[in-house]
């Protein structure tokens, strides 16, 4: 696969940088050694440096490098053991040797080949010179390689802590900018707004650049996998081939660190439980060697990673049986569960206990841990399995951990931040009467959500104790691991990008807070820890009253997928499949920049193209009732994915999320509209996003 060569190129580059550093070290140490020939330390250092170059050189089949460094090692071991006394000739030979290595490296960098240097001859020249103080011929004057090549000159090694500190400071800058942005709105000085806007762009740019600096290709993480797969397959008497695709996809270093274990786990699982033995594969008409594929790619601001095998797939019956045995699902639910739902049961903690593994021919070893770890960093994991054809895990991982989007909510006049990663949806509770939405079942609060019962945790109650008249007005539907619950809060205040700051030691034992942050107005607020909230609220992972998966099938299946309902400029109703929506933002129109005929918003991951629905879909009614926007300087933007790129669609208002889109539709009456339906008594146009954006108005 071409991937391997790509990976190799990356590794060779690293090898070049590392080797140049080692050669520099050799020269430095040789000079020290010349002054003090009896010192053992420089000798060991030089030996180690040659040894490292030799080892990696051999790995890449670089014969010339190996010959040269082997001679170096040989000489050094004799010096170390006292079989040879150090004299000037030794130093000269070793220096000439390192120059030779440099020449080969240089050629390797320029042409990918080891080049014309006759290393055998060089070694032959050097040997007598090194071995006796007055032996051999003087060194040839045209000894190769004078200058270090480009790759070492254009890169710089920086300690991760330095980048971390820088990231911290940029976090501060983001907070300061947020603060200024809020204050600038009140300023009478006309010069302030543009200056603050500029600061805004520069900050966003800095944040981006630094984030890029911390990005590392995922291939670094994959490097150990071929060996792991091979060893494991041999130990299990299986044959496995590993295919890696997209190793150049980049992720923040700290994110890479935190997905290392889950990834290893999934790959191990694929070999151990996924692939069958050669005989079984043969019987199933498959090639004896199983395939394990890793694929990584970038889409919509997150990194996707797939780990798939072509094994037997999950044993759904065994999982169903096990889940029943363990009381994780009710018998009725077991009947109704779709295969996809059953497959998802592997993430339940109960299924992964040790005795379950032996009797279960499918997987389930600590997959709940994988899920929890991935979700801890704001990612998600899904499983798909086709019996007899294999199983695949799909991970979505955020690019960075340093700055995260959060929802600011309030309780008793105090604000709290909730990370958006676990947030599934927001529900407005009907004012005054929480009882209308939230019901009580034997003292436990539940919320009916699409026919499914969701346990409800009241933020006020968790933080301040019971309160009879809870003024909760909004419900956050949160998910962490297998647990899904609703968090009732007084108000939703805002969304904001926050920087997580640790709490002092006196507060470390509070598992309710993940940390604290400073909001744009300078206030310090606590960041709620979603698992901690679930614990405090007594939300069990597999509460029979609200199973994570089991009774989902009991709910009447909504016709089609959920849609986002919006209002156009003339109050016309428009809808978009929710699966296409990345996030909703409110932006200031002043922040838009015109580039040619496009409007661009400086956004988290870079420039975001903004298209205005007004331009794409001109007024549809002559007698349009023009709505004056609440705030003419602001626009609601629906960030969607189209053609792999995020695009912001500016709409007039965002109304709601609807689950049921009637099946009886009428074809759309104009380009960019897929069909027309009646939703809540209003004619609603279902937008065809790709057609809309590809249309003449969409791509000017």
């Amino acid at each position: 696969m071409s991937e391997t060569t790509d990976n190799n190129a990356e590794f060779i580059k690293e090898f070049l940088i590392e080797s140049h550093e080692n050669l520099d070290k050799i020269v430095d140490q040789l000079l020290i050694l010349e002054k003090n020939p009896s010192a053992p330390a420089p000798l060991a250092e030089i030996f180690r440096a040659f040894h490292t170059i030799k080892g990696t050189g051999r790995f890449f089949n670089l014969a010339k490098i190996e010959t040269l460094t082997h001679f170096g090692e040989d000489l050094l071991s004799r010096l170390r053991d006292g079989r040879l006394a150090f004299h000037r000739g030794c130093a000269e030979a070793l220096l000439a040797l390192s120059d030779g290595v440099r020449a080969v490296l240089k050629s390797l960098e320029a042409t990918g080949q080891e080049g014309p240097l006759d290393v055998e001859a060089l070694v032959k020249d050097l040997r007598p010179r090194a071995e006796s103080p007055d032996g051999g011929v003087p060194l040839r004057e045209d000894s190769p390689a004078e200058t270090a090549p480009a790759v070492a000159d254009t890169t710089l090694r920086v300690e991760v802590q330095v980048l971390d500190r820088l990231m911290g400071q940029i976090g501060e800058l983001v907070l300061t900018r947020n603060h200024l942005l809020q204050r600038a709105a009140f300023s009478r000085d006309p010069a302030v707004a543009p200056a603050v806007q500029r600061l805004n762009f520069i900050t966003a740019d800095l944040q981006n650049q630094l984030m890029k600096m911390r990005l590392q290709p995922i291939s670094g993480l994959w490097g150990k996998l071929p060996r792991l797969v091979r060893d494991l397959a041999v130990a299990l008497g299986k044959e496995a081939r590993l295919f890696l695709e997209g190793g150049e996809t980049e992720l923040d270093k700290s994110v890479l660190e935190s997905i290392k274990d889950p990834l290893t786990h999934l790959v191990r699982n694929a070999v151990d439980h996924g692939l069958e033995k050669p005989e079984a594969r043969h019987a199933a008409g498959k090639p004896a060697a199983g395939e394990i594929r890793l694929r990584a790619f970038h889409e919509g601001g997150v990194v996707h990673m797939e780990i798939s095998d072509d094994g037997a797939g999950l044993s759904l019956d065994a999982i169903r049986r096990k889940a029943l045995e363990k009381n994780l699902i009710s018998p009725a639910a077991a009947e109704r569960l779709s295969d996809a739902d059953v497959a998802r049961l592997v993430f339940l903690p109960g299924l992964s206990t040790a005795p379950a593994v032996t009797s279960l021919s499918g997987r389930g070893v600590g997959l709940d841990v994988v899920k929890t770890n991935v979700e801890k960093i704001g990612g998600s994991v899904e499983v798909r399995s086709t019996p007899g054809r294999g199983c695949s895990f799909h991970l979505k991982i955020p690019l960075t951990l340093a700055i995260l989007p959060a929802l600011v909510v309030s309780s008793r006049g105090l604000r709290y931040a909730v990370p958006q990663s676990g947030l599934l949806e927001l529900v407005r509770l009907r004012p005054g009467a929480a009882g209308q939405d939230v019901e009580w079942v034997q003292g436990a609060a539940v919320f009916r959500r699409r026919g499914r019962l969701l346990p409800v945790v009241f933020l006020n109650k968790v933080l301040h104790g019971p309160d009879n008249a809870d003024p909760a007005q909004a419900l956050l539907v949160l998910q962490i691991g297998p647990r899904r619950f609703g968090l009732a809060v007084e108000h939703i205040v805002d969304t904001e990008e926050i920087v997580v700051k640790p709490l002092g030691r006196h507060l470390k034992s509070l598992n309710l807070f993940e940390g604290a942050t400073v909001l744009g107005d300078g206030a310090v607020v606590l960041i709620l820890d979603i698992p901690g909230l679930a614990d405090h609220g007594g939300v069990a992972a597999t509460d029979p009253a609200a199973p994570a998966f089991g009774d989902a099938a009991a709910a009447p299946k909504p016709a089609g997928e959920p849609h986002l309902l919006m209002a156009g400029p003339d109050d016309g109703r428009l809808a978009l499949p929710l699966s296409r929506v990345l996030r909703l933002e409110r932006i200031s129109l002043a922040a838009l920049e015109r580039v040619g005929s496009e409007e661009i918003l400086p956004y988290r991951q870079g420039p975001l193209r903004i298209v205005r629905l007004t331009r794409l879909l001109p007024e549809r009614r002559k007698s349009a009732r023009r709505l004056s926007p609440e705030n003419p300087d602001q626009a609601h933007v629906v960030v969607c994915v189209s053609g792999g790129q995020p695009v912001g669609v500016a709409v007039h208002r965002i109304l709601d999320i609807v689950d049921e889109i009637p099946a009886d539709t009428r074809p759309g009456g104009r380009p960019g509209v897929r069909s027309t339906v009646i939703v809540r008594g209003r004619v609603t146009e279902l937008l065809d996003l790709d057609a809309l954006l590809a249309g003449p108005a969409g791509s000017p």
Partner: protein, 139 residues
């Protein structure tokens, strides 16, 4: 001789070596922390770092002054840990002779005894020097 930074809880004078005091803040805005131990008065922002404010009055068993703002904070650093100590009033820096330090008075409230290292008699008052490690170990 050593120099102590002094402060008041009620009418009692407490002190810490000047070296362990990083700075003094007049009255930072505190964010209360629900469910925190009672001696935690809140958290505040010091140049981007979130510090815990330890209510010294509660620690030494005095009745804390009811007030909504944080009041003065003595920011102390010990090792990697930095905390704010909420006090009623900040006093002067006093020079004391460490050789003449006395053990804390026996009739001191047990809560205070747990965090007081030694006592220094000044001509006009008694200074109780706090043990910063003990305060940081509170939980």
């Amino acid at each position: 001789m050593k120099r102590l930074c002094t402060f008041l809880i009620g009418s009692t004078r407490y002190a810490l070596p000047v070296e362990s005091v990083q700075e003094i803040l007049r009255a930072p805005v505190l964010t209360p922390v629900p469910l925190a131990p009672p001696f935690v008065k809140g958290i505040f922002n010091l140049r981007g770092h979130i510090l815990t404010s330890v209510d010294l009055a509660r620690v030494v068993g005095a009745v804390p002054e009811a007030r909504t703002t944080g009041g003065p904070q003595v920011v102390v650093r010990h090792g990697v840990e930095t905390v704010g100590l909420a006090v009623d009033k900040v006093g002067d820096v006093e020079t004391v002779d460490e050789n003449r330090a006395a053990t804390p008075p026996a009739n001191l409230a047990p809560a205070a005894r747990a965090v007081v290292r030694e006592a220094h008699a000044l001509p006009n008052a008694l200074l109780l020097e706090l043990d910063i490690e003990k305060i940081l170990e509170l939980a």
